[in-house]
Amino acid sequence: MQDKNKIPERVLEVFASKGLFEKDIIIFLKSDVDIEFRYADVYCAATKDTLAVLSGKTVVSSVRKPFGAPRADIAFEEYSYDEFELDKLSDFSCDMNISSGLLSAVYDGERVGLTRFSMSVKNKVYTFLTNIKTLSEKGELMPEDIKTDDSDPYCPKCGTRYTDAARKICPKCMDKAKLLRRLSVFFGKYKLYMLVSLISLVFTTALAAVLPYIKGSVLYDDVLAEDGKLYGKILYVVLLVASTKILSVIASVVNGVITSKISARVVYDIKKTVFSAISGLSYGFFTSRQTGGLMTSVNGDANSVYYFFCDGLPYLLINIVQFIAVTCIMLSIDPLLTLAAFISVPVFLLLYRSVLLLFDKLYAGNFSKRRSFNSLVTDVLSGMRVVKAFAREKDEVQRFDRKSTAYTESDKRIGLMNSAIFPFVNYIIHIGNFVVWAYGGWLVMQDKMELGMLMTFVGYLGTIYSPLGFFSEVSRWWAECMNAIQRIFEILDSIPEVEESPSPVPLPSVRGDIEFSHVSFGYDKTKKTLDDIDFSVKAGETIGIVGETGAGKSTLVNLLIRLYDVSDGKITIDGVNVKDLSFRDLHNSVAIVSQETYMFEGTILENIRYAKPDATDEEVFHAAKIADAHSFIIKYPDAYETLVGRGHKSLSGGECQRISIARAILKDPRILILDEATSAMDTATERRIQRALTKLSKGRTTLMIAHRLSTLRDADRIVVIEHGKMPECGTHRELLDKKGTYYGLYKLQAEALKTIGIE
């Protein structure tokens, strides 16, 4: 319900000062752009006899008092105020411009703009439009008649815009720890492995920390120094180093094997979970642009997670632990020397960041050039027929050359930068090394430090420099992984728009009565695709549906098979609302052959059997014969086992349609829907199939959508759909007598035939 309380107190005060009181306001709209194209808060409030439009801006100024906390002072700065008598207003309308809209109406015979709005509040404006129309026509609006729009796309906590209003996930308030905890469910199964992996990790780190000590202090001070405890026992040290190394190798192998195993399993689990979640979603999910992108990224996202957890995280953990441990050891050896070692690190990190930023830009440019290069190649190759037909090969080669050059240039620049910049950047970090050598050498000469100790120190130095570059990149890696995890959970959390009833009405045997009662539907709130469609089909009847392209014919059947749900009215099968049927019962009783056919990769047999995997060969033959497909299938060398689908035998549009019809017939449904199912066939084939289908449709309810009226000659009745409405319904004869839309269509097609001499 559009909440009155949503009008802020200050605004209500302004309204009250104009004599418009809260109790009288029936509906209101808050728009965001005023008539002068300024971003503003525009309130359109309607009472039973007035429409008031108040435009202004909420101004917040904080006032600091001598004592106590600062107080925010909120005021409403008024830009303009207009009042219209509701009974003089008529013909309300919305114009959509390029980046804004205008709500207007005719007032006293002159059209007047009420408010402009941005695309962000478009749905709200259309809801208001519906309400104000009813209010101005009827003079009153019952609370139950008020249409509402509750799609508030802003996070109630922090006011950040949701990236997807339907899912309401605020990127700012989202709990990252929670995301990780949820992800850990996937890792949970492998607790033991993870423990072993962690132990091996600690072990590797510890060994790595010991090694410089052996190679430094032990070698120089104990073995090589004449007064050393192990003087001369060189073999001992070599063996010690070798065995430490081998232990370290074993530990890291164990760790590597386990992580790859777990990560691969986890990625597999994630992909599987996501894919099954996707399959459970409503059809609308797949057609909306934003989520379509989500789907394709599933593969990439699961891999991002994999790389982070398999490559990134273990490396990061080892390095952090090692870094801390080694820094502590170094500090214990000589704090001043440690400071010297880190002298160039801040400069390095700063420089490294800016170098990364530079490379980001280079790579972004490279990416777009590669994309445009790739799309050119695919474009030309798949459009080769057109290229050749218009003899444009030369131009295409030139175009290719231009794009290819740009791409190569960009590649070259990245390569050059890579080899020119990184050695210098790495050199900077090693400045610390030189300082250590100089200062440490001086210490050794002053006998303030043992040579072995210095060697140990230098050995440690090597281990801490290498991960520094990685540390400065890890935040980005982390962010990328979080993005991926968030997108994955977004899909897992999506609630299908069309949900199966939790307690479905069982309908084991369907008769096939269908009733559309006052059905309305719109893919988008701003436009009704179907408006008040009302007709019924008796079991066994064949109904033809005709209308212009885009009139809403296919939408009608999409609603029947619940790819979408109706917004108003209801559809029943045998008196049961389709919403109350289980998906299984519904889809078992209805089969659809649509205009766009789809062949899965596999044999023709598999494709026909898709609807009924256990069908016998005889059944398949019968279905194929009815669909007039048998005759062409049997001519192929591999007959029914011919491979079709991507990369295999390509079938013509008509052949695909015939296989699709066979698929639907094999299911032996009580309700058969043919949505332009024979559009790609020649008239003779169509006629043959029609005859067979007519026999088949005895006792079956058939809905037949067609452009060609000749396709519908066997229909018992014809429903005409036009601009989402149903102006006519009746038999062919009745509709001709009525001289309405159907008559017009019929005349047009008859004239078309007349021009070629057929009457």
Binding site: Y39, S93, D95, E110, M119, T163, N483
Partner: protein
């Protein structure tokens, strides 16, 4: 158009340009004006009647019945309005179309040329080749009307850009006031019209323009540099 098609005698030298007419609106055949509330109206000797599938007599029984208007349904149609079947003429026999809507054929490259003039329901009456063919006053009307239809806030300063989960949150100052918006996939939603002119399209489909990215102050430019 239909008539012309029927009556046309096809000879071997008939060019495809002879087959159908494109109606051009000129100062000689058209008179534009603005209503007191700034809506553009047209009176013209061009009498572009919607093509009918059959005679008007046939539809009289059903007033709500709409007849297809041929191929000229524009993309930005007004919605929620009944189509008025009433055709008005002035005393000198010119057609009074009432409110008309302009639509650019080449909005980026030639904003003043080839403007489609449409009825409120999207039916195309004709095309203006160049608005500057009209007198100064009419050019004012046409520019005003185009300006409103194609109004896009111009970004003057970018105060904040944050990348969150692949979505970019912008805080900007525009010539219409400050605004915040969210962009999905910045590489696809930031469109380059020319070397310096870019459009940003946010998740709701709102557009924002930067006529000259290089004229932005340094801080603003640095914020958007990565995406262009």
């Amino acid at each position: 158009m239909e008539e012309k098609l029927n009556n046309l005698e096809i000879k071997s030298d008939t060019s495809f340009t002879d087959i159908v007419d494109v109606v051009y609106l000129t100062p000689e055949n058209s008179e534009f004006s603005l209503t007191k509330n700034g809506f553009l109206t047209l009176i013209s000797t061009v009498d572009a009647k919607p093509e009918k599938l059959f005679d008007d007599n046939d539809v009289k029984e059903d007033k709500d019945l709409h007849v297809g208007h041929g191929a000229s349904h524009g993309g930005h149609r007004g919605a929620g309005r009944k189509r008025s079947a009433e055709v008005k003429y002035t005393s000198d026999g010119r057609r009074d179309y009432g409110r008309v809507i302009l639509h650019r054929a080449f909005p980026f490259d030639r904003p003043d040329n080839m403007i489609s003039v449409q009825c409120e329901d999207g039916f195309e009456i004709g095309i203006i080749k160049n608005i500057w063919d009209f007198d100064e006053k009419t050019v004012g009307f046409l520019s005003d009307s185009l300006g409103k239809k194609y109004y896009i806030p111009e970004i003057t300063r970018i105060t904040g850009v944050k990348d969150r989960f692949g979505f970019v949150y912008f805080n900007c100052e525009t010539n219409s006031g400050t605004c915040d918006f969210v962009v999905r996939n910045p590489f696809g939603s930031i469109i380059r019209v020319s070397d310096k002119h870019i459009f940003i399209i946010d998740i709701d489909g709102n557009r924002y323009s930067i006529s000259d990215v290089f004229a932005l102050d340094r801080k603003s430019y640095r914020k958007i540099e990565l995406y262009i």
